[in-house]
C-alpha cells in the first residue's frame, strides 16, 4: 500500500512542473503539454484519493473521464493552434497579443 502522501507529492510535483511549463515556455505546443501535465497531476490525485474504494472506483472512473476530456481538449487545442499558425504565422505566445484591449 503506497501511502497517500506520496501520490499527492507526485501530483504536486507534476502540477508544479506543468504550471512552470505553462507559465515559462513561449511555444504554444509546449504550453499545451504543460496543461496535459496539470491534468495528469489531477488524475494521480484522484487515483490516490480513491484508495481502498474497490467497489465504486470513483477515482479511477474520474481519471478515465479526465483522459477522455484531455484527448478531446488536445484535439481542439491542436486545431486552434493550426488555425492560429495559419492566421498569425507564428506560435510564439510573446507575439500573440490579440487579447489586449488597448
Amino acid at each position: 500500500m503506497i501511502p497517500i502522501t506520496l501520490y499527492f507529492i507526485v501530483g504536486a510535483v507534476l502540477f508544479a512542473i506543468g504550471t512552470t511549463i505553462v507559465l515559462v515556455r513561449r511555444n504554444v505546443l509546449f504550453v499545451l503539454m504543460g496543461i496535459e501535465l496539470i491534468l495528469n497531476a489531477a488524475s494521480i490525485n484522484f487515483v490516490g484519493a480513491s484508495q481502498g474504494d474497490y467497489i465504486k472506483l470513483s477515482g479511477q472512473m474520474m481519471t478515465l473521464l479526465i483522459i477522455v476530456i484531455a484527448a478531446c481538449e488536445a484535439v481542439v487545442a491542436l486545431a486552434i493552434i493550426m488555425v492560429l499558425f495559419k492566421k498569425a504565422g507564428s506560435v510564439d505566445l510573446m507575439e500573440l497579443k490579440k487579447l489586449k484591449e488597448f
Binding site: K97, L99, F102
Partner: protein
C-alpha cells in the same frame, strides 16, 4: 317676442310643367359640365353647335311652359333637414316667371348664334360656352326659385359667371382688373343680401317667398318696424350692386372689357336683370319708407349715367352707361309700386339692348378684322377698335348692322311704334301719378333727352360720315374697300332682335300698353294713359335731344377739345371710386397699419417672454452641463483610471493571465486557510 320660430312649409307636389322647367334649368348645367371637362378635345364648331342647339331646345321648352301656364303653380320639395329644421326649396311657375324664362332663353339663343361666329378665332374659346351655360343656368335658377335662400345661391353663381366672363381675356391687364372690380363691388353688395336673408329667416322663420307673402299680407307675424325697414334696406342695397345702381354702378362700364356677346347677355338678360327680378319678387318686403329711396336712387342713377355717356368715346361704354340709366328707370318704377312697369321695361330693354350690343359688336368685329389684316401685312395699328372716333361710314358697308342698330336705337330713345317708347311711357306715367315724385319725374324726363342726345351722337359717329380710321392710317384704305357684311350667323340675331323692338311685338296699340300679349296674363299696368300731354312732352324732348346731337355732333372736336373740370369729374365716375378709396380703403389701411403696430407691441412682449425662456434654458443647460455632467464624468473617469491601471498589468499575454489567475487563486486559498484556523 321670440325670434327663431321656424315654420315648416307645406310640401307641394310637382306638376308636369315643373319637370319641364327643371329640364330647362339642368340643360345648361349639363352643357357646362360636358364642355368644361372636354375642353379642347372637341373642335370649335362642335362646341358652338352643341351649346347653341341646347339653348335653342331650352327656348322651345320655355315657350311651351309659358304657353301652358295659366294660374301660378308652385312645387315645393324638401331640400335638407337638420334636427327640427326642414329646409325646402320651391319653384314657382307663373306668367311672370315663365315669360322671363322666354326672354332670357331668347336673348341667350341670339347671343349664342352670334358668338358662334364672333368668338370663332378668339383666344380661350374652349371656356367661353361653358361659362355662358353657367351664367344662363344660374339666371334661370333665380327666375324659377321660390326660396330666397336658393335665389341667393344662384345670385352668387351669377356673380361668379360674370366674373369669369368679364375677365375672359384675362391676359389683358384691364380685363382682369375689371373682373376683379365687378366681383368686389358685387360682393360688397351681396353682404347685404346675406344679412337680409338671416334677418328674414330669424323673424319670419322661412325664406319661401310665397309663404312670406301670405305671412306679411295677413300680418300674422308681427315684426318690429326697425327690422322690417332693415330687411328692405339690405335687400335694396344688394340689388343696387347686381343691377348697377348709384353708387355701385362703377363696375359696369369697366365690365365692357369682356367679349361683346357677353356684354349683350349681361346687360340684357342675366346679370343686371337679376337685381330687378329679385326686387320684383320681393316687392312685398319693401316697406313704404323704402320706396322713395328707390325712386330717388333710380332717378339719380339714370341722370348721372346718362351725363357720363355724353362725352364717352368707347362705343361699348356708351351702351353700358345707357344700361345703367335704363335700370334706373326700372328702379323708379319699382319705387312707385308699379312693378309690372319695371318688368315691362326690363323685357323690352332686354331685347333692344341686346340688339344694340350685338350690332355695335358687328362693327367692332369688322374693326378688329381690319386691325388683324393689317397686322398680317406687317403694319401694326395700335388703335382701340372700340373707339367711335375711328369708326364711321358703316351705314353703306354694313347695312344690316346699321338698320338693326337704328331700330334698337329708336326703341331706346323712345320713338313711337317701338317697344322702348311704351315701357318708358308707363314708367313716366306712374311717376307722374304721385305728386311727391315731381323732382325725380323731372330728372327722368331730362334723362330721356340726354339719352336721345348721346345715342344720336353714337349713331352719327359710328355709322355716318367717312371712315376715319382710313383717313388717319392711309394703309387701311385697301382694307376699307374690302369691308362687307358679316357672316349670316351674326346677321340673323341682329335681324331678329331688330324685329322684336317693334311695338306690335308687345302691344297692338302703339301709344298705350295696357295689353301686353306675350305676357299672356296681362299684368296690371297702372296709368297706361294718364294724360295725352305726357307722350307729347317726352317725344318732343326726345326730338330736341336728337336735333341737338345732330347739330352738335358734326361740330364736335374729336381730339383736342377743351377739358373742363366738370367733364373730368364726370369721366372719373363722379369720384365714386375716390370716395370708396377715402371712405373704405384708406381707413381700412389705416386701421390695418395701427393694428400692425399693436401687433408689433404684442410681438415684442411675446419675444421678451421667448428671450427670457431662452435665457433660463441656457442657465439650466449650464448647470446640467457643468455640474451634473461633470460629476458623472468624474465618476466615469475614476473608474476608467482604476480599470486601466489593472489592465496595464496584463498586456494581452495568455501566460500573464494564467499567472495572475494562479496568484489570485493562491491568495484565495491562503485567505481561506487562514479563516479555517
Amino acid at each position: 317676442m321670440n325670434p327663431l320660430q321656424h315654420t315648416d312649409p307645406m310640401l307641394l307636389p310637382a306638376h308636369f310643367l315643373h319637370s319641364v322647367a327643371l329640364t330647362i334649368f339642368f340643360l345648361p348645367v349639363l352643357t357646362f359640365v360636358i364642355l368644361f371637362f372636354t375642353g379642347k378635345h372637341i373642335s370649335t364648331s362642335w362646341r358652338s353647335w352643341l351649346a347653341t342647339s341646347v339653348v335653342g331646345l331650352m327656348f322651345i321648352l320655355s315657350l311651351y311652359v309659358h304657353l301652358s301656364v295659366d294660374v301660378p303653380i308652385i312645387a315645393r320639395w324638401s331640400w335638407f333637414s337638420m334636427g327640427t329644421l326642414h329646409m325646402t326649396s320651391g319653384m314657382v311657375l307663373s306668367s311672370f316667371t315663365t315669360s322671363m324664362l322666354v326672354v332670357v332663353t331668347a336673348i341667350a339663343l341670339m347671343v349664342h348664334l352670334y358668338s358662334m361666329e364672333y368668338m370663332k378665332d378668339r383666344r380661350n374659346h374652349s371656356k367661353f360656352f361653358p361659362y355662358l351655360a353657367l351664367f344662363i343656368s344660374a339666371m334661370i335658377g333665380i327666375i324659377l326659385s321660390d326660396s330666397l335662400f336658393n335665389i341667393f345661391i344662384f345670385w352668387e353663381l351669377v356673380g361668379l359667371a360674370s366674373y369669369l366672363l368679364i375677365g375672359f381675356w384675362y391676359q389683358k391687364k384691364e380685363a382682369a382688373a375689371a373682373a376683379k372690380k365687378a366681383f368686389l363691388y358685387n360682393k360688397a353688395a351681396d353682404t347685404a343680401f346675406v344679412i337680409a336673408l338671416g334677418l328674414i329667416f330669424t323673424y319670419y322663420g322661412t325664406t319661401e317667398l310665397t309663404l312670406l307673402r301670405t305671412l306679411i299680407s295677413s300680418s300674422s307675424i308681427l315684426v318690429p318696424t326697425g327690422i322690417a325697414i332693415s330687411i328692405a334696406v339690405l335687400l335694396v342695397l344688394s340689388t343696387f350692386g347686381k343691377s348697377a345702381q348709384f353708387p355701385f354702378y362703377v363696375w359696369l362700364p369697366d365690365a365692357m372689357e369682356g367679349p361683346t356677346p357677353v356684354s349683350a347677355l349681361l346687360h340684357a338678360a342675366t346679370m343686371v336683370a337679376a337685381g330687378i327680378l329679385v326686387l320684383i319678387k320681393c316687392d312685398f318686403l319693401l316697406v313704404e319708407q323704402m320706396r322713395w329711396v328707390l325712386v330717388w336712387t333710380g332717378a339719380i342713377t339714370a341722370l348721372l349715367a346718362a351725363i357720363q355717356a355724353i362725352r364717352c368715346y368707347d362705343s361699348k361704354k356708351i351702351l353700358a352707361f345707357s344700361t345703367v340709366s335704363q335700370i334706373g328707370y326700372m328702379m323708379m318704377a319699382i319705387g312707385t309700386g308699379n312693378t309690372s312697369a319695371a318688368y315691362f321695361h326690363l323685357g323690352t330693354h332686354a331685347f333692344f339692348k341686346a340688339g344694340l350690343f350685338l350690332s355695335v359688336g358687328a362693327v367692332i368685329h369688322t374693326m378688329h378684322h381690319i386691325q388683324q389684316n393689317s397686322f398680317k401685312n406687317k403694319i401694326y395699328l395700335e388703335v382701340d377698335t372700340l373707339d367711335i372716333r375711328l369708326m364711321g361710314g358703316f351705314r353703306k358697308t354694313m347695312p344690316i348692322a346699321f338698320y338693326a342698330y337704328v331700330a334698337c336705337y329708336a326703341a331706346l330713345i323712345g320713338i313711337p311704334f317701338f317697344t322702348g317708347f311704351l315701357s318708358k311711357e308707363t314708367i313716366l306715367a306712374s311717376l307722374l301719378q304721385n305728386p311727391t315724385y315731381s323732382i325725380p319725374f323731372g330728372m327722368a324726363l331730362t334723362t330721356v333727352g340726354i339719352t336721345a342726345y348721346y345715342m344720336t351722337r353714337q349713331l352719327y359717329w359710328m355709322f355716318l360720315g367717312d371712315f376715319r380710321l382710313a383717313a388717319l392710317y392711309p394703309s387701311c384704305k385697301e382694307e376699307q374697300r374690302k369691308i362687307k357684311e358679316n357672316h349670316w350667323l351674326i346677321n340673323i340675331p341682329l335681324i331678329v332682335l331688330a324685329c322684336t323692338t317693334l311695338s306690335f311685338f308687345v302691344s297692338f296699340h302703339p301709344f298705350h300698353a295696357s295689353d301686353i300679349h306675350w305676357m299672356k296674363a296681362p299684368l296690371p299696368i297702372v296709368g297706361g294713359s294718364t294724360s295725352i300731354y305726357l307722350p307729347i312732352a317726352s317725344i318732343s324732348i326726345t326730338l330736341i335731344g336728337v336735333l341737338l346731337a345732330w347739330s352738335m355732333a358734326s361740330k364736335e372736336q374729336l381730339y383736342n377739345w377743351k377739358q373742363y373740370w366738370f367733364w373730368t369729374f364726370v369721366q372719373q365716375n363722379y369720384g365714386i371710386e375716390k370716395a370708396v378709396q377715402f371712405v373704405f380703403i384708406i381707413p381700412s389701411f389705416l386701421i390695418a397699419r395701427g393694428l400692425t403696430y399693436l401687433d408689433k407691441i404684442i410681438d415684442m412682449w411675446v419675444n421678451a417672454q421667448a428671450y427670457l425662456a431662452v435665457l433660463l434654458a441656457h442657465i439650466v443647460y449650464a448647470i446640467d452641463r457643468f455640474l451634473i455632467e461633470g460629476v458623472l464624468k468624474g465618476i466615469v473617469f475614476l473608474i476608467r483610471i482604476v480599470g486601466s491601471s489593472f489592465r496595464s498589468l496584463i498586456q494581452g499575454q495568455v501566460q500573464s493571465y494564467i499567472s495572475t489567475t494562479l496568484i489570485v487563486l493562491a491568495l484565495m486559498f491562503w485567505w481561506y486557510l487562514r479563516q479555517l484556523h
